[in-house]
């Protein structure tokens, strides 16, 4: 993570200013999330589409049939907002609160998908990750934490 402050409160939302390293890392997220479900038995896809009725697979299937498309569209809209913000962030850009929330959801979705592919199912699983994988999860968590701090002031 950069030494500069990526997120600051702004009267119109959140000022986001990212350095080149952050931009390079974060700009990979939409493509990464777009790959979810592209391989058979992708644990990331399973994590993002968990059963809603644990004791009723038929009702779960129906819920996903009714809500799944809308949820997919919502996630795609978040990623589009995220991409536009990343593109404008080198010189500083102000996110509306709605855009900041979308940004936060994308960071979270990326952590969920990455952790699922790394087979992180309980907290102890972090211990067996190699440095690069754990670093990626920690980096995203750090960005989430910084943005949450700013949103808490809004």
């Amino acid at each position: 993570m950069s030494e500069s402050v990526p997120f600051l409160p702004d009267p119109k939302g959140v000022l986001v200013t990212l350095d080149a390293d952050d931009i390079e890392l974060l700009s990979q997220i939409p493509e990464f999330l777009g790959s979810v479900g592209s391989v058979p038995d992708d644990p990331a896809a399973a994590r993002l589409q968990v059963p809603v009725y644990l004791d009723d697979p038929e009702a779960s299937q129906e819920w996903w049939r009714l809500m799944g498309t809308e949820l997919d569209q919502s996630r795609l809209a978040d990623r589009s907002a995220f991409e536009l913000i990343i593109e404008a962030s080198a010189t500083g850009t102000v996110m509306s609160l709605a855009e900041a929330e979308a940004f936060l959801r994308v960071l979270n979705e990326a952590r969920l998908a990455l952790a699922a592919r790394l087979k992180v199912e309980v907290e102890e699983d972090y211990e067996r990750l190699d440095e690069a994988d754990r670093g990626a999860l920690d980096y995203l968590a750090g960005m989430q934490g910084l943005l949450l701090l700013v949103l808490a002031t809004q």
């Binding site: 809603v52 129906e62 809500m67 949820l71 979270n108 992180v120 907290e123 949103l151």
Partner: protein
């Protein structure tokens, strides 16, 4: 453009065996979602105070799950949608 659509009839599985009981929206613990993020989501979606959202988050963390809202089935399904939209692991039960 004139677009005419016909209502689509959908059927729901007959699982409302106890229609008078409220449907419970349950959030489950997972090792990835940040505690602060869960608190933020619960406050945003349900208007909980910081104290109540923190209590529920800790219940999820320590007990593995917590009921975060209840009500009619339709509302529970919408709540569940919004929780999934934010990446929380949410289920519905009666």
């Amino acid at each position: 453009m004139d677009v005419t659509t016909k209502p689509v009839e959908t059927t729901r599985p007959e699982t409302d065996l106890a229609p008078d009981l409220p449907w419970l929206v349950v959030v489950w613990n997972d090792p990835v979602n940040l505690m602060d993020y869960v608190v933020w989501v619960l406050r945003k979606l349900f208007g909980h105070s910081l104290e109540e959202a923190t209590r529920l988050m800790l219940l999820v963390h320590n007990e593995g799950r917590a009921v975060v809202n209840d009500g009619p089935r339709e509302q529970a399904e919408i709540d569940c949608y919004r929780l999934h939209q934010h990446g929380l692991w949410a289920t519905i039960e009666q």
